[in-house]
Assembly symmetry: D3
Homo-oligomer: 244 residues x 6
Amino acid sequence: MTTQDIAISDETIEQLRHVSTATLTTQLFKRGLRNVFLQGVAPLVKPAAGAPNMVGPAFTLRNIPAREDLDHVGVFKNPDHPQRKAVETAPAGSVLVQDCRGDRSVASTGSILTTRLKVRGVAGMVSDGCVRDSGTIGDIGLPLFCAGASAPLNLARHHAVDMNVPIACGGVAVYPGDIVVGDVDGVVIVPREMAAEVARDAAEQEIMEEFIAERVQGGAILRGTYPPDESTLAAFAEWRSKRK
Amino acid sequence: MTTQDIAISDETIEQLRHVSTATLTTQLFKRGLRNVFLQGVAPLVKPAAGAPNMVGPAFTLRNIPAREDLDHVGVFKNPDHPQRKAVETAPAGSVLVQDCRGDRSVASTGSILTTRLKVRGVAGMVSDGCVRDSGTIGDIGLPLFCAGASAPLNLARHHAVDMNVPIACGGVAVYPGDIVVGDVDGVVIVPREMAAEVARDAAEQEIMEEFIAERVQGGAILRGTYPPDESTLAAFAEWRSKRK
Amino acid sequence: MTTQDIAISDETIEQLRHVSTATLTTQLFKRGLRNVFLQGVAPLVKPAAGAPNMVGPAFTLRNIPAREDLDHVGVFKNPDHPQRKAVETAPAGSVLVQDCRGDRSVASTGSILTTRLKVRGVAGMVSDGCVRDSGTIGDIGLPLFCAGASAPLNLARHHAVDMNVPIACGGVAVYPGDIVVGDVDGVVIVPREMAAEVARDAAEQEIMEEFIAERVQGGAILRGTYPPDESTLAAFAEWRSKRK
Amino acid sequence: MTTQDIAISDETIEQLRHVSTATLTTQLFKRGLRNVFLQGVAPLVKPAAGAPNMVGPAFTLRNIPAREDLDHVGVFKNPDHPQRKAVETAPAGSVLVQDCRGDRSVASTGSILTTRLKVRGVAGMVSDGCVRDSGTIGDIGLPLFCAGASAPLNLARHHAVDMNVPIACGGVAVYPGDIVVGDVDGVVIVPREMAAEVARDAAEQEIMEEFIAERVQGGAILRGTYPPDESTLAAFAEWRSKRK
Amino acid sequence: MTTQDIAISDETIEQLRHVSTATLTTQLFKRGLRNVFLQGVAPLVKPAAGAPNMVGPAFTLRNIPAREDLDHVGVFKNPDHPQRKAVETAPAGSVLVQDCRGDRSVASTGSILTTRLKVRGVAGMVSDGCVRDSGTIGDIGLPLFCAGASAPLNLARHHAVDMNVPIACGGVAVYPGDIVVGDVDGVVIVPREMAAEVARDAAEQEIMEEFIAERVQGGAILRGTYPPDESTLAAFAEWRSKRK
Amino acid sequence: MTTQDIAISDETIEQLRHVSTATLTTQLFKRGLRNVFLQGVAPLVKPAAGAPNMVGPAFTLRNIPAREDLDHVGVFKNPDHPQRKAVETAPAGSVLVQDCRGDRSVASTGSILTTRLKVRGVAGMVSDGCVRDSGTIGDIGLPLFCAGASAPLNLARHHAVDMNVPIACGGVAVYPGDIVVGDVDGVVIVPREMAAEVARDAAEQEIMEEFIAERVQGGAILRGTYPPDESTLAAFAEWRSKRK
């Protein structure tokens, strides 16, 4: 059932950098997938207008509830502590996705670990928990998508338990290797095996919607325009042919 | 029970553009209405300082939960689909208010429909659901009040079912024709039959509060100032008479 | 059990102004306190980068649910109304902390009361309810930490009942005199009797973390660096000795 | 889109009386419908073992939030008040389904209205709100499925607004005429156009599961038994042929 | 504002023992009080049919969140611990009402304290938290209304802080001395100053409703019967006169 | 960190069968563990008075959210489907504990799988999701602790993904081999390494509390009795010595 071996082309990654999560959820909806957008997760810092999306294959970290006797500050002395190990293991270009059970009461990362992820070339971090140091962590330059800001350290609620296993995040299934795409609206999980096709069709959909948006700005009524009827499709074909 | 025929003067609309929703809720509280402010709804983009409020009569759209066999992307080909029809029917100057049952998991509008509303002269859109394309939709210039950003299309959760009927939005009853006022704090529903009186008294209340705020900034203690006693009221009368 | 008589030095206050709530929660976690960070409470206006924290001893105000016959607008004519009295009584330098039972449906303060607190020299206001006039209230210059913006006046839900008693706020116990610290992540309650020690150790922790962050930015792996092993500690000692 | 004219045979109704809602949700799942079971709704009184299900076509009543000036006890003097009218209009054999927006704070019916429904031959009442008089209302003999017990009258939160329109109940779309089935687990909505087929297949599924359950009780392992392989299917065919 | 000195007659108490909380909420609604029924609170053991209600003046206990260093098992050695003191102080005939902030994660009482309350003649216990020992605590014979069963001791979440002050319970204001009435639907708080009048009118309302219920059972339509028109009122007057 | 090899004596199991979960949470609280009781989980059928507890080592099953293309009814044809495999693998005497992320919208087991667990000698099933067939599943005789009844099959929300790994259930960490104890209040997780000591101390605590309860029933005041002072302890010692 694992699909991690499916290759993802640079072209697919590049296409996914420039289509919206809105378009991607529509493409996945057309393929029968209704539950692909992480609930309760948003960019910590609103991306600049026109900035490319965060895109990368998921590398996962699973947390379960903390137990007071097991989760004390001493655990970090163990270099094989799963959270620290995940930060050192997630490949360059991947997105570290944490299952925090939607618990917003504590942080799931802070600025030192985020710096390490950035230095290692990881593409971003996603969590359905919060982050601490929220005033400055955005300056590190690693895209962060999370449930908001919270100061307490993860150990107060979380026990990192294993990595690179299928997890839940924001109510969505995330399999290692699934393509994670984040923009201003939030984060969508594109199943790896659908990524190439979905990326291509999403890019095409956005070109069409650019044309439709122009028409609607110009006063066109919805009927026949959105969705397009034959006549609008013909006009689009012409418009499209003139466009590089 | 419908009160849509009551005329609303331009003066009332103008007054409502320049008083806060805070003041309006106080005026409605004085008239026995405690549940007039939409819960969980906020401006998508913070209004500029001093910008006038969104104001207009409610034109409503009701959504019920989606059913997979009825709510597929093909439905939009029907130009009488209630959502598309509502966008084409809401009068210029009105505010389109959507009942999304407070469901934050999907979008209740996107940029093309919002553009069409703007072109048609609609005054704003309110929803207790989310919107997609949240990074750019604010640039269209239509005031949007909603539960936040979410990428998935409405069909994943909503079936638009009828328009211009009384609805629930953000836990508040909204009757077609009620006056919807939105500012930085959120949205208040002013029953149409009270709008003229509430607008006038709210405007008056704000003049008084401007005077009180000045006094408090100047060091006045609350006792006798807020609320004003006879002596403060006399000072206010004088201050008021000097003001145009 | 009251600890309000314990003196808090200016040095402690100054230290707390310059350490993050993240660091403070870690110091309190080390002392066995896991529930010290207010849930659902955030700064209304994001503090400027580098701005000092809000810091001061808690002066509390307790609200219970409103009852329609007791909580009408006439109550404010009573200058001994507990909310008004609290605003006039909270000492200069203190932080007014309100127990609103986490109810986000109404405001717990507005601009006139906030102005009075500012004029009186109060250090800040914290509430697990909302505030109204959210567009302009931040300009008054009083740090406000709350659950968000909501227009309706407090009387629609709250009955202010007593002040300077132990309360719940954001799910955390707040005893009068506890030191309240607020930054961009939110608000932490430091028990008064631990404040001096916690402030000192937090300041020290942050110096260490500055050193570690530099190393990680420079490419150091987490193992041996964070937390530091003997060799890193030795390097730190040298770095520390060179720093003023 | 209305399907109310599709006839439902007595055989279908009878089949639906004797299959579980668990089986029905499985049949609907096989047809692509995942959201057919009312969330947060349960029988007020646990049905007796072996009792037939509540079954009947939906007759709906829609409630929106109350407004204090419109929803006072005087409204019931109007015999055309939608709630009273719905109680007098729901056909014998139908199930009255109320949209209460999942609000559990007040009642959606009490013993006098329930008595009237029973006298009129209505088959049951379903609400995603609560009921009052919960100690004795079960003795009336009308099957009631709801969110629990709550004393306050509906007017404190609800304004009955129209009837026999599509509604939301327990997070599920309910169209007038859909077949409502309630058993000990709760309530499932069977789209009217699928009812005959779903009823027939559900009845057949339960015969098969009776056979499988016998085998598992007798020690059969799951592999090959549940779901059945060819050999188990052959054994089932024989068992089935011996059964009436 | 305290009304604890208002005498409550034995007749009032007796009337309140025999009217439903449903009727009481209607009487209070008529007087403008919409928020008098505790949300999320139910009888732990369903009262026997026909059993009198729990009735008594409120004696309150307020809890705030626990702090690990203050709330250890040793605190109970202090005989003045507020919870223990409340159990020993609540007068015979009163109802002990606990503010647990609606926290369902731990118990707010167990069998030994409940036994002590019973021995002391207290009329009942109400909490918006849970109780432990739920299998046997009902056998003690003290009416208990709570949020359900939960095993952990109160100290894990609660710090009992003071008694006989106004509190919140189940989202409702409870003033010491208010009359607490509990039946199968749950608990209503009757403000002490209204108790006599409300009890009398509630008793009268129930006689009327008994008559109406008889008529409806006999086939009367709602129009003219519920609420009664002049003709039904005349019939009621006659029926009433024949009844003792 | 795995402790599954620690032997658990029959005496410990027997002790745990006869102490309450209330007592066990107190013993664990004394050892610093505050989060050991599953939230939102209760026995489906109230245990008979005096019935022994469900007790056994945890065998876990982890579920993540379903994905429509992966979780169709065909998956059960795979005999290695993790849910089916878990049912066939959980050892006799163990308790199958499912992580359903607290999702109450669907079932996590039904009567056929429960029958198989019973036949295989499994000691019980715990889930923070619901179960279907709730009217009859209790007759199978396997103790079931869950979030309630819900008809839809697990596939509508859950994807069973792996077994015998540490999981979250009801907000609590459950490690394979931890001792799961369920009674009328709910379920407590006793870390395996503490089980022997906790069981012994819990048994002793209950004997003491039986003595205290007798005293309180006899009219003893709390002071000096609960907790016991020296004199009560002496009386207890004597009472204890006379008891076999």
